[in-house]
């Protein structure tokens, strides 16, 4: 068994470790925008650096090595995105931080207000619905919601993924 990564794979491993560090650096640059844009920028930067590394590294490139490196980079990006999105958009985690930030016990209603930083659950619902409407999955009209054909297809896909991953 050969445990040593190829040159491109070694570069990909290094860049995978560098991705969170790059995101930390980008967080200090205001021009990089919000969380989502910053993550996209970080991912594109890492991919560009990988392409440069593949061209600049000495010796002949092997397809297996480059492909393996791409898989490793994509793995690191997905892993980082899962953690990043939990921090940025995690509902349960933010409920906890809102309760701790309040500094005193809260009733359910007070907790909802603290979570929404003065807003209510209606504002939260509208924010989540904006995603569904924006993605063309749902149409909101006359105070009612109706799924589009795309929404129905996505819902079927979600059920399939839930079933095949054992979530029921």
């Amino acid at each position: 068994m050969n445990m040593l990564p190829g040159p491109a794979q070694a570069a990909a491993i290094g860049l995978s470790i560098a991705l969170p560090l790059l995101l930390l650096c980008y967080a200090r640059i205001a021009a990089t925008g919000g969380s989502g844009r910053r993550f996209r920028l970080g991912s594109v930067s890492i991919l560009a650096l990988y392409a440069i590394a593949c061209l600049a590294l000495p010796g002949q490139r092997h397809f297996d090595d480059v492909l393996g490196g791409l898989f490793l980079l994509a793995t690191a990006m997905m892993f980082c995105y899962i953690l990043f999105s939990l921090l940025a958009w995690g509902f349960t985690l933010t409920l906890l931080t809102a309760l701790v930030k309040a500094g005193r016990p809260l009733t359910l209603e007070q907790w909802a207000v603290a979570y929404m930083q003065g807003g209510d659950l209606g504002s939260f619902t509208h924010n989540r619905l904006k995603l569904l409407v924006g993605a063309g999955m749902v149409i909101a009209a006359d105070g009612r919601l109706a799924p589009t054909a795309k929404g129905v297809a996505i819902a079927r896909l979600v059920k399939l993924v839930r079933l095949s991953t054992g979530l029921g």
Partner: protein
């Protein structure tokens, strides 16, 4: 051939993981869904490496690990997307109705508060929050976790609202 072994291990993971989730539910195991995913990943990775050593004369570990990591992380990504997404819960609730329409007021007044209470139950069950009189307060573990989350959010320049920013 090493890539094929890695892919085979990933397929085994995709079969073992849902089986573990279903077994945990039916037998009342106290292990969380993410822990079960980690167990399945470690087991199948180990099996893949052993198979590679036995079957492939020049087994390239990183070739196998790269495709295994990519497929498993893709699985975890899909799993995470459908596991507890508020937006998808709303979409499914609309699609599952016979008339495929839902009043917005009902979602705001009934479904989202139910989701809110469900997440609070998760926090209480996880020992991060405890009921106090008629309200809720964070436990020492909850405060510790919230502190760490706050540090990470500050470091990565992430806000603490968990709302989607559609201006990006």
């Amino acid at each position: 051939m090493s890539f094929f072994i890695g892919f085979l291990a990933a397929v085994t993971f995709a079969l073992l993981s849902p089986a573990l989730q279903v077994m945990a539910r039916t037998r009342g195991w106290s292990l969380g869904a993410v822990t079960l995913l980690a167990i399945a990943a470690i087991l199948t990775h180990g099996l893949g490496v052993m198979l590679g050593i036995l079957v492939v004369p020049q087994f390239q570990y990183w070739d196998a690990a790269s495709i295994f990591g990519f497929c498993v992380m893709g699985y975890v990504f899909a799993f995470g997307a459908v596991y507890k997404s508020v937006s998808l819960e709303i979409l499914l609730s609309v699609v599952d109705r016979p008339e495929r329409r839902a009043p917005l007021s009902e979602i705001i007044e009934r479904q989202v508060p139910d989701l809110f209470q469900g997440r609070i139950r998760n926090l209480v069950d996880g020992g991060l929050v405890e009921p106090v009189d008629s309200g809720f307060a964070p436990t020492a573990a909850g405060r510790k976790m919230a502190g760490r989350v706050g540090q990470l959010r500050r470091a990565f320049g992430i806000g603490d609202t968990s709302l989607y920013d559609f201006s990006e």
